[in-house]
Amino acid sequence: MKTLTYGEAIREALFEEMASDDRVLVFGEDVAGYGGLDGVTQGLQKKFGTERVFDTPISESGFAGMAVGAALMGMRPVAEMQFSGLLTVPLDQIVNSAAKARYVHDGAMSCPLVIRSVTYPAGNAYMGQSLEAWVAHVPGLKVVTPSTPIDAKGLLLTSIRDPDPVVFFEHKSLYSNEGLVPEETYSIPIGEASLARTGSDVTIVAWLNMVPAALDAAKELALEGIDLEVIDLRTLIPLDEEAITRSVSKTGRLVIAQEAVTRAGFGAEVIAVVANSDVVHHLKAPVERVGNPGVPIPHSDRLNNHIIPSKDDLIAGVRAVLSS
C-alpha cells in the first residue's frame, strides 16, 4: 500500500486507464494545458498528447454531446464539469443523449462515458449546488460518489470501463485527504456500499464529503458511549439497498447525512428504501435528515457555513433520533 491523496488517486486512475486503453479520452475546461483547476489532470496531456487530452471551450452541452458521439463510436471519453452546479447546463446531453442510448437502440449500441463532476458547496448559489439526486432519478445512468482515495481510484477505473454512462462526483474538499491505496492494480465494483464504521446505536448513511463528517461525529459521540454505524454509499446508482436495510434493522435508528438540499434530495430515496421494507417496523425513532435546509449556497464563507451541514449538525441529528 501507498499513501495518496484523493486527488492523486483520481489522477492515478486516469493515468493507468489512459495507458492501458487508448480509447480513453480526457477533456473539459482547463484540464489539458493547465492540468485542472485543482491539478487533478496534471501531466495527462504531456503524457498522452493533445489528441487524447484536450481543453474545451465553455460549451458544456457541446462537449458533453461530443463525449456521447465519441462513446457511441467506441471511445471511452472522460469529460470534466469543473463545478457540479454546471450540470444544469449539459444535462440534456447526459440525461437524454447518453442515458437513453442503449435503451433506444434495444441494446445494439452503448454509450460508455464518464462525466467527472466536481462538487463543492461554496463560492456561489450556482456552482455550489449538489445535484446528485437529479442524475440518480434518470434510468440509464450510474452515479458514483466516492469519499476516500482508495474508493476514488478504484471506482473511477470501474466507471471508465463500465459499458454505461456514469456520473462520477468528486468532492473538492476531499482532494487533499490522504489514504492508503494498493500498489497493484485493483478496482472496486459499482453498486456496493462500504461500512465505514461499525456500530450499534444509530445508522448514518452518507456519501462524498459527509462520510468524514460522519466519522468525526462518531468519534466525538463515542466518548459519550454512543456507537454510530456509518455507511458510505460510494455509489448511489445502483443503490446497495441491502447494506442500508441490514444496518437499520440492527440499529433501529437512521440519520441521513447529505450536503445537498434536503427536500427531494437523495436521502429521501434512502429513507424510501427503508420505509418500503419490513425494516420500517424496526425503527425506534423517526428518521432524521441532516442536509442543506433549502437555501442557495451564499457566496460568503461566513454565511455558507451556516447552510452546509457540519459535524455538529450531524451530532444534533443523532441526538434527535436517540431522544425519541
Binding site: E51, G65, A71, M73, P163, D164
Partner: protein, 323 residues
C-alpha cells in the same frame, strides 16, 4: 468526386420516388388508424437526403434530422425494415422503443439523434472526432432543420467542429418553417449558411430541390472533410409538401405551398432523366408500379407480424439488466 453515371441517376430517382410513395402510404395508413405512429413526412425534401448520402462509403456515418427519411433509404434500410419499425414489430430495429426517425442502424452507418432538436449536432461532432482519432478519413453527415439552427447546441456543435477540424458536413434543410411557425419567428436573416463564417468554415447554399446540385455540393464538402480541412455548412433551400405532422393543422399560406409545389424534386429528376434519355416513360411507370407492389406486400407483412411486448419494454436500460 466520382462522376455520376446514368445508372446512379436512375438509382437516385428510385430512392426519391420510393421515399415519396412510402411516405404518402404511411400517412394514409395513419389516417386510416392502422399505423400506430405518426411521422414527419419528408415529401418535397427527398433530394437532400438522397443527394447528400448517395455514394458515401460504408464506413461513413450519417445522422438524420427528424425528417430525413432519405438517409435511411440511401444507406440501405429497406421498406420492410422501416415499416416494421413503424409498427413496432417484434423483429423491428429496436422493437418499438424508439420512433423510426430516431432509430440508429449501426451496421449501416446511421446514428440516431434524440427527439431534442439539435442535440444530435454535438453528438455528430464527437462521432466525427472519433473517426479522426482512429486515423481514418471517413466522414459524418449531420442533417437538421432550420429550427435546429436557433438552438444553443447548433452553435456549440458547429464551433467545436471548427476548433477540431472535425470531418463533418452539416446539412441544414431549410424548409422555411418549424412546426407551426414561419422562419421569421426564428431568425432575422434569410440564409442560415451565413452563420458558418462565424465559426470559420465555408457556408454554402444549394437548391434543395435539385438532387444533382445537392450531391455535387455535398461531395465537395466531403472531400474537404476527408482531406482534414474541416467542416462545411450546407444550407439546402427546400419546402415540405405535407403538414409538419399528421395531427397538426396546416399553417402556411396556400400561395406559398402552390408556388413550391411547382418545384417537386422527384418530378425535376424524373423529367431530367426522361429529357436526357436515361430512362423512358415505360421504365418510369414500371419503377413506380414495382415500388407500389412491393409496398403493398411490405404493409401486409408488417401488419401480420407480432408487435413487441412487455419484455421488450423492460429490457436494455443498462448493459447487464436493470439496477
Amino acid at each position: 468526386m466520382t462522376q455520376l453515371m446514368p445508372k446512379d441517376l436512375r438509382e437516385m430517382y428510385r430512392l426519391m420516388l420510393m421515399s415519396r410513395i412510402y411516405t404518402d402510404r404511411a400517412l394514409q395508413l395513419f389516417d386510416e388508424g392502422r399505423l400506430p405512429t405518426g411521422l414527419h413526412p419528408s415529401a418535397g425534401q427527398e433530394a437532400i437526403g438522397v443527394g447528400a448520402c448517395y455514394g458515401l462509403r460504408r464506413e461513413d456515418w450519417v445522422i438524420p434530422s427528424l425528417r430525413t427519411t432519405e438517409c435511411f433509404w440511401t444507406r440501405g434500410v429497406t421498406m420492410q425494415q422501416m415499416m416494421d419499425a413503424m409498427y413496432g414489430n417484434k423483429d423491428s430495429v429496436n422493437r418499438g422503443k424508439e420512433s423510426f426517425h430516431h432509430s440508429g442502424y449501426p451496421s449501416l452507418g446511421i446514428l440516431a439523434g434524440t427527439a431534442i432538436v439539435a442535440a444530435h449536432i454535438p453528438v455528430a461532432v464527437g462521432a466525427a472526432k472519433a473517426m479522426q482519432l482512429k486515423g481514418t478519413d471517413n466522414v459524418m453527415l449531420c442533417f437538421f432543420g432550420d429550427g435546429a439552427a436557433a438552438r444553443g447546441d447548433f452553435h456549440e456543435g458547429l464551433n467545436l467542429a471548427a476548433v477540431h477540424k472535425a470531418p463533418v458536413v452539416f446539412i441544414c434543410e431549410n424548409n422555411l418553417h418549424f412546426q407551426t411557425a414561419p422562419a421569421s419567428v426564428e431568425m432575422a436573416i434569410t440564409d442560415i449558411a451565413d452563420r458558418a463564417a462565424g465559426y470559420g468554415f465555408p457556408g454554402v447554399i444549394v437548391d434543395g430541390q435539385d438532387v444533382l446540385a445537392v450531391h455535387e455540393t455535398t461531395q465537395e464538402a466531403i472531400k474537404r472533410a476527408r482531406q482534414g480541412k474541416g467542416p462545411t455548412l450546407i444550407e439546402a433551400k427546400t419546402y415540405r409538401f405535407r403538414r409538419h405532422y399528421p395531427i397538426l393543422a396546416e399553417t402556411r399560406p396556400v400561395e406559398e405551398i402552390a408556388e413550391w409545389s411547382k418545384r417537386d424534386p422527384v418530378t425535376i429528376l424524373g423529367d431530367y432523366l426522361l429529357a436526357n434519355g436515361h430512362m423512358n416513360v415505360s421504365e418510369k411507370q414500371e419503377l413506380e408500379t414495382s415500388i407500389i407492389i412491393e409496398l403493398d406486400s411490405v404493409v401486409a407483412r408488417a401488419e401480420a407480424k407480432q408487435a413487441a411486448d412487455k419484455s421488450a419494454a423492460n429490457s436494455t436500460v443498462y448493459a447487464e439488466g436493470a439496477s
